[in-house]
């Protein structure tokens, strides 16, 4: 599969637009600062964080991780298909990726609902301040990512991408992978690590 991702004869180039990479770096910086703040604060309150963390629903978290990773894989397949001028499979893969993103959002809403039902908010304690801040900040990125995937799907349908041009498609795909990557750090850090 790696072979299919990049043509060995092709000189190395940045996939997607340079501007999106500036954004991605800025986004990762924001997530990184948030993660570091969480880690440092946790180091001073290990007991309290562990107790509060036990209340999180790791099953929903795990399902969401699966959804995002699968979604990213589908996006990769969609880009590959588009590059090979196979428009219908490209749309199908993109459609599934979009469903994965939407599934993540639905699961997250259920998760929040359960937390609110217990009366937990950002003001409950430091752990929940971080839990809500980090996951909500990420949630908003998934919302934006889903919008981007929807636009890509729409444009695929109109034949905008193919072997002649995948620039916009790769640009949107890169953003989606960033959303995925941030979650892959967030999930173990906030839900799993003791």
């Amino acid at each position: 599969m790696t072979a299919a991702l990049s043509d060995p004869g092709e000189p190395p180039r940045l996939r997607g637009d340079l501007a999106i990479w500036v954004f991605i770096l800025a986004e990762l910086l924001a997530f990184g600062v948030f993660f570091a703040a969480y880690a440092v604060t946790r180091a001073y309150n290990v007991e309290a964080f562990n107790t509060a963390q036990a209340g999180l629903d790791r099953n929903i978290g795990a399902i969401n991780t699966l959804l995002l990773i699968s979604g990213s894989w589908c996006v990769v397949r969609a880009v590959q298909a588009a590059r090979a001028d196979r428009q219908t499979p490209a749309m199908r893969w993109m459609g599934v990726a979009l469903l994965c993103g939407l599934g993540f959002l639905v699961a997250k809403v259920f998760e929040y609902q359960a937390k609110f039902a217990l009366g937990l908010t950002m003001d409950s304690d430091t752990f929940h301040m971080f839990y809500f801040s980090l996951t909500f900040f990420h949630f908003m990125h998934v919302v934006l990512g889903v919008c981007i995937l929807a636009i890509l799907l729409f444009k695929l349908g109109r034949g905008a991408y193919g072997s002649h041009d995948v620039h916009g498609l790769e640009t949107g795909a890169a953003y989606w992978h960033m959303v995925d990557l941030a979650w892959i750090v967030l999930f173990p850090l906030v839900y799993v690590m003791r």
Partner: protein, 457 residues
Amino acid sequence: MKYTSQAVAKPYFIAAMGLFVAQVLFGLIMGLQYVIGDFLFPHIPFNVARMVHTNALIVWLLMGFMGSAYYLVPEEAETELHSPKLALILFWVFLIAAALTVIGYLAVPYATLARITGNDLLPTMGREFLEQPTITKIGIVIVALGFLYNISMTFLKGKKTAITSVLLLGLWGLAIFFLFSFYNPHNLVRDKFYWWWVVHLWVEGVWELILGALLAFVLIKVTGVDREVIEKWLYVIVTLALVTGMIGTGHHYFWIGAPEFWHWWGSIFSALEPVPFFAMTLFAFNMVNRRRREHPNRAATLWALGTGVMAFLGAGVWGFMHTLAPVNYYTHGTQITAAHGHMAFYGAYVMVVITMISYAMPLMRGRAANSNKAQVVEMWGFWLMTVSMVFITLFLTAAGILQVWLQRVSETPMSFMATQDQIALFYWMREVSGVIFLIGLVVYLISFFVKGEEQAA
């Protein structure tokens, strides 16, 4: 100058420079009052000098933005301004309103001004930077609406570019956020929210869009780099500025009674606010390095580069210095804030307006650039003002550090006034730097009258 109607920018620029002089003079008066408390008392009390200093700044920057927009939008839209006559009428309305307001500040006590301007009908006065009488505020709204109508109509009938879109978004945002100044709730916490939604969302939000658009315009003109490249940078910069700036508003919620999570959100996002400013510096230098022509107006290029660097230092670095909640706990409302305020306003907004003036004024006077001699004088003005502003900032920073130490960190904290006595030396040095700043400003203004061989437009 491609369209005759662009010339309406000229009176705006001239009035802006006049108010700039007034602002600096009152700054010097205040600076002296820091060390000689009864200087000019009772004629110009400290609070009045401060009001004139800050209000004059805001008004002249608004004049500068308006003049810049009147110059820029027709050129970008490739059409004449919708109504040059309206622009000139509004200019006089604005100038007279500003002059009357300053006279009001100086002639009568503030409470009297509030009474005779009918503040009790719709109380909006008394808040820092928004001290203007309610009728002046209404005047500002009318001028802004007329201005936005004029500019938007020009935009709509002509070519739409990224630069004009971003500029218009910034200018509309400026007008809309100003409306929060009309709401003055009794609850002090809520009052602070609305106040910051004007003050912060202006300078760390929509004004940055104006800054980015003006800088991009001048850089296209002086470097000849492809519009596509410059516009992409512009989009990246304004997006980063808006996201960090808007959530970064949280750094004002630390101690006003807002929920505690703002300590984190405010700290983290405002800590990222230097990023767009850094991008702007990279952008300016990158474009000038990739220039495809040698524009005869080297002074304008210098101002453009200076804007990038000084905005990054003043707004970015000096802002970051005291934006984290645990640091701000000690530095809040000290001379550290004053240091940041001075360099940020100068580096970001004063310099970008002067960049536009420096680029557009020679063209409006019928030449591509001023004579070499005039440009050399202008560059002297640049260096004198910029270097003395660096020193003003450094001295205020030193004063601030000492103040924080003596008044807030020490085991035996001193009172506010006793601390002020201890840091007087720095206030003196700041005042000397201020005088050099004024000399720089005068040199800059003289450059407008220096003759010599000029290049035809």
